[in-house]
Structure formats: structure tokens, C-alpha cells
């Protein structure tokens, strides 16, 4: 068994000296750097909180029920993502593709809600990127998160297409797992944003 594992490691060009998959290590390193990126944006938002001299404030514009619904969408998409991985692990490729598609649709729904929220802020409350410190820090932070989600949706749809055409099977588990790591990361960033930006008074 150990020999088999060693042979597997020797013949797989993606396994490095640590015995770990280089692609997976790369993704974790990227997620670590993205943590610091979002940490800076959240810190900036909190530093500027309550210091705007013009425009509406956070609790004049936030729609907590809508944002809670969006948070639930992302949490549900994390579950569907791990279910997709579980199906792929057992080589049930079509089922995995279906769960990946559900994950992408939930993500797209989240992005749609965010577009609606941004539009409402701009058109009904007059809050834009240049209105105030709050507008700048809020739109930059949540906009970057939305861009991450959008990138994730595109990535998932590509995987769905590949799986549907039979170009992915259980051997490609790590490729899908890496996409899953990225997807869960956008979920945990939203967990932080939802609490710190939307819920804390």
C-alpha cells in the first residue's frame, strides 16, 4: 500500500517534495493572500465607518432581509459544492455536474441580488462610489467580493461544461476540489462581511 502510494507520488508531476499537490498548495497560498486583501478592505471600511460628512449612512440604505437571503444563498451553495465533490469522488460525474450547476446558479442569484442592491443604493438613495467615505469603502469591498463570486460562477460553469462532455472524471477530483476551495473562500469572506458590515450597528 505504501509502495503504491509512493509510486503514485513519483508518477504524478503535480505532487511536490512535500508529498502534497502543488496546485492545492498554490490555491491555499492564494487564498491566504486574498485573506490579507479582504482584511485590508474590511479594516478600511471600519476605519471610515461613521466618518462620512455627506450622503446616506449604512443603516439608511441596508436591506437586511435581502442581504440575509443572499447570505443563505452562499451558505447553501457551499453545501451543494461539497455534494458535487462527493459525487465526483465516487465517479458519479453527471450527478456532480448537476450539483456544480446548482452551485453556479446559487452564486449567480447572489450576484443578481448584489446588482439589485447596488442599483437601489444608487438610484433610490443617491449613494455611489464617489458620494462619501462610506460609499467608497462599501462599494470597493462588496464590489470586489462580487467580482470574486462572478469569477467563481464562470469557473464552475466551465467545470459543468467539461463534466457534461465527459472530459472530467474522478481522476480530476483535485481540479474540482481547487475550484471548491475558491468557492468556499468567497463564502467565508461573505460570512465576515455580512456580520461586520451589515449586522453590527
Amino acid at each position: 500500500m505504501a509502495d503504491h502510494a509512493a509510486t503514485h507520488a513519483v508518477h504524478d508531476p503535480n505532487i511536490g517534495n512535500t508529498g502534497l499537490d502543488n496546485r492545492k498548495m498554490g490555491m491555499w497560498a492564494f487564498l491566504g493572500s486574498d485573506c490579507m486583501f479582504f482584511g485590508s478592505l474590511i479594516g478600511t471600511y471600519l476605519a471610515y465607518k461613521g466618518k462620512s460628512i455627506s450622503g446616506p449612512g449604512p443603516h439608511d440604505v441596508f436591506d437586511i432581509p435581502l442581504t440575509s437571503y443572499s447570505a443563505a444563498l452562499l451558505l447553501a451553495s457551499s453545501l451543494t459544492m461539497v455534494l458535487a465533490l462527493s459525487h465526483l469522488q465516487h465517479n458519479r460525474v453527471k450527478s456532480a455536474a448537476r450539483w456544480l450547476l446548482v452551485t453556479a446558479l446559487l452564486g449567480a442569484h447572489f450576484v443578481g441580488n448584489q446588482v439589485y442592491e447596488f442599483t437601489t443604493f444608487a438610484l433610490h438613495h443617491g449613494l455611489t462610489l464617489s458620494t462619501s467615505l462610506f460609499g467608497s469603502s462599501f462599494f470597493v469591498l462588496t464590489g470586489f467580493h462580487g467580482a470574486h463570486v462572478t469569477g467563481g460562477v464562470i469557473w464552475l460553469l466551465i467545470l459543468v461544461g467539461l463534466a457534461w462532455r465527459g472530459q472530467i472524471d474522478a481522476r480530476d477530483y483535485t481540479k474540482v476540489e481547487i475550484a471548491g476551495l475558491y468557492w468556499h473562500f468567497v463564502d467565508i469572506v461573505w460570512i465576515a462581511i455580512f456580520t461586520v458590515i451589515y449586522l453590527i450597528p
Binding site: H8, G19, W28, G32, C35, I42, L46, S86, T174, T195
Partner: protein
């Protein structure tokens, strides 16, 4: 079979043990309950600000580590992967606290108290 073995070796061979579908569903239920409690606390009158803020932060941290530990498999993965994520996470938290301290922005107390 060989494919499944290869996938399993790549995925869970690093740290031993793995989460099952039942675990994932239990974690999702816990996440849903915590989120519902978080939102519900906003509508409960009379909660002191420090208690509300610290409670929300604790619930958020629990959700964060549930997703990272179980959905991202970090609980079962190799310590190197854990270090690659937790190290920068600590730096990120330090950045947030440093920036807030520089701007005298504190979450737990209303500004007029400071």
C-alpha cells in the same frame, strides 16, 4: 476503481480521516441556525451594544471555522496547508485591528464613549 482510489489518495490522504455527506449536511444545518440567530438578534430590543457586537462576532467566527474546517477540509488536511491559510489569516486580523486602532475606530463601544 483505480480512478476512485487515485482521487481518494489525492484528496484525503494528507491528514487522515474525512467528512461524510452526513457531516456536510449537519454543518449546513448548524450554519443556517447560526445565521438565523444572528439576524434575529438585531430585532431583539434592549441588548447592550457590547453584548450584541461580541455575540455577532463570535457567531461569525464559528461559521467561518465550520466552513474552513469541514467544507474546505482543512481540519483533515496537512499542517502545511493549515499554516498557509492560518498564517495570513492572523496577519489579516492584525491588519484590521491596526487600521482600526490608527483611526480610533472601535466596534465594541459607541463612539461618544471614547
Amino acid at each position: 476503481m483505480a480512478n476512485q482510489h487515485a482521487a481518494a489518495a489525492t484528496t484525503h490522504g494528507d491528514g487522515g480521516g474525512h467528512a461524510t455527506v452526513r457531516t456536510y449536511i449537519n454543518v449546513a444545518i448548524m450554519l443556517a441556525i447560526i445565521t438565523a440567530v444572528e439576524v434575529a438578534t438585531l430585532y431583539v430590543p434592549g441588548i447592550p451594544n457590547w453584548l450584541l457586537v461580541s455575540g455577532l462576532l463570535v457567531m461569525s467566527a464559528i461559521k467561518f471555522f465550520l466552513v474552513v474546517g469541514f467544507f474546505m477540509h482543512l481540519r483533515y488536511d496537512h499542517p502545511i496547508l493549515r499554516a498557509l491559510f492560518v498564517g495570513p489569516l492572523i496577519i489579516a486580523i492584525a491588519i484590521i485591528m491596526a487600521v482600526m486602532a490608527l483611526f480610533s475606530a472601535f466596534l465594541l463601544l459607541p463612539r461618544h464613549v471614547l
